[in-house]
Every structure is written in C-alpha cells, then in structure tokens.
Amino acid sequence: MNPDDLRTALADLADEVRPVDLSDRARATSRQTARRQVAATATAVAVVLTAGGFAFAGQPGFDRRPVGPADERTGNPLTEGEVTAATVRVPVWQTAGCPAGDVRLSDPGPELARWGPVTLGDVDRDGTGDALVVLRCQVGENQVLALHRAPDGTVATLGQVVTDRPVVGGAFIAETQVGPPGLVEVIWRDGAVATAERQRRTYEWNGTGFSQTSGPKSFPPAAYDVRISAKPVRLVSNAAGDRAGDLELTVENAGTITLGAAKVTLETPVPMTVRSMIGAATDHPDLVQWADPPLRLEVTLKPLLPGDRTTVTMRLVYPRGMRPAGGILSMGATGDATPDDNQVSFVAR
C-alpha cells in the first residue's frame, strides 16, 4: 500500500463530512459542565449543613418547616383558584435556560407552562390541604412542585418533588396524585417504549425535602437491536440492454422498542435506478446523495414491533454499458448491543 495513495484516499474520505458551526454547541456544553461542577459543590455543602443540624428556614419563597407539629395544624386548605392565581418560587431546573425564581402560575412566561390539573391534598402531613402543580419547561423538562400555605397566609413553595430529564427516549412525568396524607404519587411513562406499563412512584416530605419512598426508580433498559440481511441480486438483461433484478432486504427488530420509522441506508458506487419498491413505508426511497458517488439512498420502514421482521423488495436497474456492482445496506448502530448485524453487503450479478 502506497502511503501517498493512503493520504489521498483518507483526504477523499474526509470530504464526506458536512461542515457545521459548533460554536453555540461548544459554549453550551462548556456551560453545562461548569454548572454540573457548581451543583456538585453545592450538594456537598448542603449535605454537610444538613448533617450539622442546620436548615435553610427563612429563605425567600421557601418555607422548610419540620414535619407537622400540632400548632401548625391550622389554617384553610389551598384552593385551585388560589393556586392558579399565585406567584411562587420555582426551584432550579436540571436544564440550562429553564427559568427559576418567582413565577406567576397564571402566566408562567414563554419558557414555562403549567399543565395538568392542580392536585389538592395534604402533602406535608400537617393536617391542611396543600397542592401539587406540574410545570413544563419548553425544552422538555417537567417538575412537580408542592405548594402549601405559608405562615403569612400566602401560597408558597414547599419544595420540588421530582423532575424528569429532557432526554429523548427518557422516562417522563405523566401525572400526579396525592395519596394518603404525606404521600405524593407520580405516574411515570417510559419515553423509549411507548407500550410499556406506567409506573407509580411515591415520594414523601421529610421536613426539608422530598425523597422517593416506594415504587421503581427506573424503567428496565430499552433494548435497541436490529438485524439486517439481504439476498444476492440476480440480474437479467432486458430488451433495452439494461440489467435489472430484485434486491430483497429483511430487517428484524430483535429489541424491545417499537421502531416507528427506522431507515435503511443503501450505498452503491455505481449509478443505478430503483424502478419499484414494495414493503416499505413509501413506494420509493429517498435520494440522499446522487451527484457525487457513492450513490446513497434511504428506505423508510413501516413500524416494526419487537420481535417482528419486515421485507422490502426493490427493483434495481443498471443502465446499459454500466457494470453492475452490489452495495452496502446499513442501519443506525448507536445503542445496539450487536452492531455487527446492522450492516450487510449485497452483490448484484
């Protein structure tokens, strides 16, 4: 192998990458890293203070009372009208850009929204009615917020019950309920497996914050596992001198996730056309790259349930005078425990 040829080939291959501007993304990642480090430090400080018997009582907007002493079992329960008209302190989110601080629940602003009903019940076991609201930051994170009546009679934040993470395929908060006094029940859904059963997780107020006391802590890992195979294409010449044959590719969903619109990429180094396609979500593939070889096509599959397989048949036509070649069929391999079978080559003769 000639080193100069290797240099040329590597440079040619590197030309495939699409230039993108990464300034904003790099800055965002940098800020997130810094924020995580600050949060880790703050957590360590909080743990030390708690262990030493201190509490953050008196912090504006928060009222961290101990669990229900008798003299606090007074006052009127919160009403839905009071809650929706209140301005409360929203604790920090996990996601950068989601606003914390004072928020008017009737008009949370462009980045936030309140969704679902206000749930009423005794959250902190003080014998009076508290409330739960769910706030959604528009980037996708949700947090369950517990509200109570402060000593001055206003609606105030008791604490953040739980937040979910705005991760594609991650679990998310679906609804909240107040169970027996002191128990907050949050219904979670699995973002990766739409058909998975919902989970009921219970949280309790311990005087300084909420912690989960029962129910599962996560959904079982969703396994993405696809297997692709193809048969050799047997070509025959037609009257015009073109050579045509059927490419039959099969995809098996061996994972636990329903594949909504999985794509198969077909790469081939020589010009050819797809005259027909049967068994896919559409009747023709999408042309991703045509002018500059390799020719690259994408086939969108029909929804594929776990354990099912699907077959797509494509009629390939190689123009007269063009020596047919096969190609490579591939599917995304990120997260696949067995990526070897996400790609297969086929021959056309």
Partner: protein, 175 residues
C-alpha cells in the same frame, strides 16, 4: 470571547475532517469536536494563542477518542461481508472508482481499534511525524511505530482490495 468564536469558525471544518476519520460517522464526529471545543472554551484564558488552542483541542480530541476506547474496549467491528466488486475500468467511471475506495476504506477503518485509527489519521492524514503523533497521543514513539505497523497490516488483511484500487486510482484506467 469573540476570539473563541473566530477560532471555532476557522478551525471546525478541519477538526471535523479528522474527527470523521476517527469516528466514521458525521454525528459522532460532531460530538467529538463539540466536546473538545467545550473543554477548550473552559481553558480559553490559559490558551493565549490560537496555535495553542488548536493544539489543545486536537490533543483533547484524540485523548477523548482513545479514552473512550479504554473505557469500552474495542469498537465493535462491522462485518462487511462481500464488498462491491471493483468497477469497470473504462473511461468515465472514475467517480465510481473513488466511491468504491471510500466505501471500502471507511469500513476498513472501522475495523481498526480506536488507537490504530488515531495513529493512521495523525501520520497519514495530518502528516505528523512519529514524534509529534506520540506527543499528541501521550505515548512513546515506539508505540506509535508499532501501532502504525499493526494498523497497516490490519488494513491489508481486512481489505486486500484496497491495494488494487489504489493502484488503479493512482495510475488511471489500465484497460
């Protein structure tokens, strides 16, 4: 930090090209460069010249790639099975020839370890000397030499057709 933006806009295309060869995937390449640039951003005040920044970013990029290799073991190999036949060597099909080289080389590179791929990219794409490559990777020159030899041997083993294609590519159509 406008200088940082200027640096990112000027150097990202080149960084992405190297990252693409290291990862074989557009999105993974973007992630790798983005992470390396984020670390550069956090250290920007210490990097008082753009040359330092680029060297720092590239060093970070290679270390991230190799440390990923250390944490997760070898990148899974892609079984390519029968690769496309070498194309007809008639005039007018040079593009097809180049495309075949690309497909074959990309798949062959993915069958190397991350470290072998890093050494090849440093030596034959970025044209670094063995000493420079060793410095960037934080390994000895001997390791660079041995990894280069193994990488080339592995390329020949997994894609013997590359040699033929390179000859055709270099000399033009022969029949």
């Amino acid at each position: 930090m406008d200088e940082f933006d200027d640096f990112v806009r000027a150097r990202t295309p080149a960084l992405l090209r190297s990252a693409y060869l290291l990862t074989g995937d557009q999105h993974l390449a973007e992630d790798l460069v983005q992470t390396a640039l984020a670390r550069t951003h956090r250290s920007w005040r210490r990097l008082d010249a753009s040359e330092n920044a680029e060297a720092y970013t590239r060093r970070t990029m290679y270390h991230l790639q190799v440390s990923w290799w250390r944490r997760h073991g070898r990148r899974p190999e892609w079984l390519t099975g029968d690769l496309p036949e070498p194309r007809a060597r008639a005039a007018g099909v040079d593009h097809a020839n180049q495309a075949a080289v690309r497909i074959t080389l990309r798949n062959a590179l993915m069958r190397l370890t991350n470290r072998q791929r890093a050494v090849l990219v440093l030596r034959f794409f970025e044209d670094h000397t063995e000493a420079e490559a060793a410095d960037l990777l934080g390994v000895s020159i001997g390791t660079v030499k041995s990894q280069t030899a193994r990488a080339l041997a592995r390329l020949r083993a997994v894609a013997p057709e590359l040699s033929d294609l390179y000859v055709v590519h270099a000399k033009g159509p022969t029949r």
